[in-house]
Symmetry: C2
Subunit: 255 residues, 2 copies
């Protein structure tokens, strides 16, 4: 019987590549408690080893054709931050005019960036020429390299959360002017401009959810089967949607 | 002294939002061991609760203006998979012609998708009209909603890894034809088509790195200061780059 026991455990091992419950839960905790931080930054400096780890997380993101098309421009100087903050202010004034009525007042009062308060800003760029003109996996969808760069941003964001660092993505900026300020060449896209720093607190829910701007959508409404917006009524589909409803309720109730 | 002790621990608590070492390491383990899976899928079915969790992880991604612009089209039917696989084959033949010489032979021999072998395929889409024409944070960078959708894909990918599920992103497809197959309306972009399933093994390194297609770049070469491609020689910058070099060596050596 010894031999067959060994065989079973070898098979189990080769099939069981999941993490244990505590490790898996740590990932979900990171994902569910991650916030887009704008108003809670403190001036506490970020140590070299912490910054190294979060940048490493970004660098080990998936990339189309293994391009690794990203650069990470670290911005620490007050002078550079002030220039970028000026770009935000201009874009923000333009944005206010695009809203009307009550939404305009709500929008005007939202704190939307922490450029000056956070100790480090990072511009994550995508160099479209990094791997020559023909890239595996980018032959039919040209934006794949930009998507890879966004994956790096999301890894950075999650690593930051696990380190107790807040991250806020500032997208109310004119990209051409940002390229001028940071000396970014023509072929390179500044995909994300993020603020990074320790925080006084992480909000329980996303701020736009709390202020009633938009509700969290029920995930079940967004799951389709075989085609866009198509439903299914087989036992697996019904069971999945029921499970999704319960899981989401637990998260929204703070469980 | 009691009062001051309490004060300190309250302060420590408010500043200490990081996770403990084991939780933080679980996230890094997920990030560093995630792979783009193409050739190692097994037919083992995915249980409802596992699928619910990985889709929930995707749904709790950041989204510009809290748009949550995504839908998740689950594809289980052999017939749908065969149609999409046909699109891959056409695009793949076109792609082969774009490479020349030795790279063409290497490319031809790579396994690039697991559409038919994986039990579930998921098309993650972006509905650009989900929150009306004016969206907070999308006023100046129109692609922000697509970037949000990519963040959802990356969350899905990491959650899958922690659950022991492999995920492979199939980008060698004509998006217009994919929209026809899945009945996706004009306003909606099929951002990612992914294959999901248990695996016989996770590769130690990305396959394109192992076959020598492209090396893993030294992260230190991609970190800039204050401007694109700009260096810095202050103690923090020097210390950071030294730490990055050591951290990356440890990862590449399998530590």
């Amino acid at each position: 019987m010894k031999g067959s026991e060994l065989e079973i455990s070898a098979r189990t091992k080769s099939a069981g590549h999941g993490f244990d419950n505590a490790q898996r839960d740590a990932l979900y905790r990171t994902i569910f408690s991650r916030r887009d931080v704008r108003g809670q930054f403190t001036a506490e400096p970020i140590a070299e080893d912490v910054l190294s780890r979060v940048l490493m997380a970004a660098h080990y993101a998936p990339s189309v054709g293994f391009m690794q098309p990203w650069n990470f421009i670290l911005i620490r100087a007050e002078e550079t931050k002030r220039k970028v903050h000026g770009l935000f202010e201009t874009a923000h004034r333009e944005a206010i005019e695009m809203f009307e009525g009550e939404p305009r007042e709500t929008y005007r009062n939202l704190k939307l960036e922490g450029i000056l308060e956070s100790p480090i800003n990072i511009c994550v760029t995508c160099d479209r020429d990094r791997a020559g003109p023909v890239v595996i996996g980018r032959t039919h969808i040209k934006e794949m390299d930009v998507y890879s760069t966004v994956c790096a941003v999301q890894n950075l964001w999650l690593a930051a959360r696990a380190e107790g660092l807040g991250l806020g993505w500032v997208s109310i900026l004119d990209q051409d002017r940002l390229k001028q300020v940071l000396g970014i060449p023509e072929r390179v896209i500044p995909v994300a401009y993020v603020c990074l720093g320790y925080v006084s607190r992480f909000l329980d829910k996303p701020e736009l959810q709390s202020v009633g701007w938009r509700p969290r959508l029920p995930l079940g409404d967004l799951i389709n089967f075989e085609g866009f917006d198509k439903a299914a009524d087989d036992p697996f589909a019904i069971g999945l949607l029921e499970r999704v409803r319960k899981d989401q309720k637990k998260i929204e109730d703070g469980g």
